[in-house]
Assembly symmetry: C2
Homo-oligomer: 244 residues x 2
Amino acid sequence: MTGWLAIAGLGPGDGTLVTPEVSAALACATDVLGYAPYVARVPVRDGLRLHPSDNRMELQRADDALRLAAAGRNVVIVSSGDPGVFAMAAAVFEALEASPQWQGIAIRVLPGVTAMLAAAARAGAPLGHDFCAINLSDNLKPWPVIEKRLRLAAEADFAIAIYNPRSAGRPDGFARALEILNEAGCGDRIVIFAHAVTTSKERIETLSLREARPEMADMATLVIVGNSATRRVGRWVYAPRRAP
Amino acid sequence: MTGWLAIAGLGPGDGTLVTPEVSAALACATDVLGYAPYVARVPVRDGLRLHPSDNRMELQRADDALRLAAAGRNVVIVSSGDPGVFAMAAAVFEALEASPQWQGIAIRVLPGVTAMLAAAARAGAPLGHDFCAINLSDNLKPWPVIEKRLRLAAEADFAIAIYNPRSAGRPDGFARALEILNEAGCGDRIVIFAHAVTTSKERIETLSLREARPEMADMATLVIVGNSATRRVGRWVYAPRRAP
């Protein structure tokens, strides 16, 4: 058996947002690895081994997946959303670089609907003009880099998608991010809090940045800060196509 | 019959990247509107009216779609990629704002795999760290705004996804964008040219920004400029998870 490794995105949560390409890979996999809540979304069947693991185990998981593929297994690593956006694809390539003996393994990256696209769709079209995506976790980058990027993103008048805004281990960063954006003159901008988007627990809140409170976000929240021209029409929020 | 309007993303090209949610909407639509090459990707069937239109007709197309939905039709507007990223969703909300009588129409935005995610997947994981997306078309924004955003994106050390880099009507902007990024010290960064990604005409080129030539891009190209830490492993390009 010739092994392979697919790094797949399951989309934001709803099964109708899993691409047929990803479903097909899962249907012929022998092994599925990933953070436990994502592995739990994969349909079980005879002959499929599930390897759920903990959140901070990215490099170990990538190594395990490469080892299984090298041994001839058909392996899928699953991420929520898109595997290339703050998810497992980069970790796999890091692991691959550290282990040249595996560089002949057949690898595919299977894209998915990342959280900011699903959140934007529920809210309207806040990413209809130029935008950026910033991971607020400082586990792998110094906090001053995040602050600098927030300030430059505000100056560029990008809409800003904020991933991983807040967790039990990082309770304060998002509060500071809101302060920075308020200081940068973004107080009147519209902010979207998209909680658990496309799941049964989905909740979308929109308000001005000035009114936003840190407690409105947790790890299941994707935050989108509109640009200076972002506006409402009825229940919708959108970025006009003309430059602000 | 109660009309509705779905604004749907068909993904980058390959049929296996169309979400089941979008396929389901198309399966029960009475009318499909969109730029002609995108409408041509919709499976034809009895009872489905196709309304292809020209590229620059976004607001007219949005008006037409709202009028059909108001008359009780089940309408899908199709975009390539994701409808919220430099595509039809913002145009529909602009049209809706201009026509309050239609604000009761049931509207849904159905997300899709936008070109930068598919391009990134083919190349590796160049969007694995913070990034931005800039539409290089100056049809709806002044060119100086684009220049300012490119400079700030370079200063923030974002990976930069460039949509619509070059067309027959805009032959010079992308050359200027490369100059700006070279002047900003990005000459050593890895650039990915992803042509017609996931189609039979797909072609992926990676080289340094300094070596990049304007003619390498056209309207079917998505360009990703890596951040300063983006690197190669074998045929892959990825952004390490640690901050550059």
